[in-house]
């Protein structure tokens, strides 16, 4: 290519790139975004939210790129391991040892790599929140799934993967958490930026919140505020922290030692859904997936929470959350397809038992 042509091509590409960037900036600046400084509602939070649209797009670009490779790898290797199990079942069904080995390998691979995918994507979300608010603390992130395996209890929800270990398990009926009730009702995200006010009004329930303490909760006096500074340098709301139980469920009184980060004031829940009424989805697909004839089928929740009030924004936090929830749903559907939806897998479990118990 001649220098003149090369220069022209570079100029055209540069112009196109600038146009795209301008469009992206414009898109982000429609809501709370753009490169505007936004002060949060809670003055004690001290958070300055500075969205850098270009940085956000770069993070999402990288996330999609990395996931493309890992998702293809997950699908191909899961398919290969599933085929090995199916072959063994067909050719040597009496060899329980060989069958157990292959079942265990498929089981381990699917679940371990789903966990790895979750952690990988949590890190992209960390990058996003770091770009959006450089000072800690950052939100906690968790993937929760509907759980039908709790004896005698229906509509249960279980935390499956978190971005950090929290020291408690969170398994409770959907109806005990207002956020999940709302998502179940309309299939849309749930965003609450002032949990203390809502809980005090009786409009927000959470299995870890002590309703009696919430009823007594009120703003701290100046002296208490100035004396209690958390590890991030912000004033602690000790009265609010006392409203939280350190672990989910139970009717006992709240204790003061719930981990600081678990005493949150903001929450965002993004559902992972399939629209059953989508005319582009075939009836056969719906039948195989066991989709109910409802507006949407919900199969998981990507949950965020944060210590400060007013932390999450409609735009772009919700949009970024949906991008990652949708990416994770692709891994998760693959996992379901080779386990719950697989007759080979289910028959192997019947023959060999639960791989976690029979692991050698």
């Amino acid at each position: 290519m001649s220098d003149e042509l090369k220069s022209l091509a570079e100029g055209t590409a540069k112009g196109a790139a600038e146009g795209i960037m301008a469009g992206i900036k414009n898109w982000f600046s429609r809501g709370n975004g753009g490169n505007k400084k936004i002060r949060t509602q809670d003055p004690t939070a001290g958070l300055d939210v500075d969205f850098n649209a270009i940085e956000v797009v770069r993070i999402l670009n990288k996330a999609v790129c990395v996931n493309q490779a890992h998702l293809i790898q997950y699908i191909v290797l899961a398919g290969a391991l599933h085929k090995k199990l199916k072959d063994r079942m067909r050719e040597e069904p009496e060899d329980l040892s060989g069958l157990t080995n292959r079942l265990g390998a498929l089981y381990d691979f699917l679940n371990r790599n789903l966990g790895l995918a979750a952690q990988r994507n949590f890190r992209f979300l960390h990058d996003y929140y770091l770009a959006r608010s450089p000072k800690p603390p950052w939100p906690r992130i968790c993937l929760k799934l509907p759980d039908e395996n709790q004896p005698g209890r229906a509509n249960m929800l279980a935390d499956v993967f978190r971005d950090s270990d929290v020291g408690y398990n969170s398994i409770y009926p959907v109806e005990e958490n207002t956020g999940h009730v709302e998502v179940m009702r309309d299939g849309q995200f749930f965003l609450c930026s002032d949990i203390p006010s809502l809980a005090k009004e009786g409009r927000y329930k959470n299995p870890r919140l002590d309703p009696h303490r919430v009823e007594e909760y009120g703003p701290q006096n100046e002296e208490e505020l100035s004396e209690s500074i958390d590890k991030y340098g912000y004033a602690r709301d000790l009265a609010w922290e006392r409203c939280w139980r350190p672990s989910g469920g139970g009717d006992g009184p709240a204790r003061v030692d719930a981990p600081l980060e678990s005493c949150y004031k903001s929450t965002l829940i993004i559902p992972m859904t399939l629209k059953s009424h989508d005319k582009d989805l075939s009836g056969d697909f719906k039948e195989i997936m066991g989709l109910e004839d409802k507006s949407r089928n919900i199969f998981g929740y990507l949950c965020f929470d944060h210590l400060a009030g007013g932390y999450f924004n409609n735009d772009p936090d919700v949009a970024v959350g949906y991008v990652v929830a949708d990416i994770l749903s692709l891994y998760y559907m693959t996992q379901l397809n080779y386990t719950k939806r697989s007759t080979t897998y289910q028959r192997s479990i019947e023959l060999c038992g639960d791989p976690l118990e029979t692991e050698t």
Partner: protein, 62 residues
């Protein structure tokens, strides 16, 4: 009242009317829930994509 609205906003813009349609649920595989209970974040992050056992099975002749 305005402050309350600000404190509690959900929904895609514009949909103020409460929708009451019911949604279906797809529950998780029992094995995944059991697996997730048995590992920590540290263990997951230190895990390989493929273990030696999985590599050996993939290399077995069918």
């Amino acid at each position: 009242m305005a402050a309350k609205k600000e404190a509690y906003y959900k929904s895609p813009a514009g949909s103020q009317v409460e929708r009451t349609e019911q949604n279906g649920v797809i529950t998780a595989d029992k094995g995944l829930l059991r697996y997730a209970r048995s590992v920590t974040v540290k263990v997951i992050n230190a895990s390989p994509i493929l273990t030696e056992r999985e590599k050996a099975i993939l290399r077995e002749a069918s």
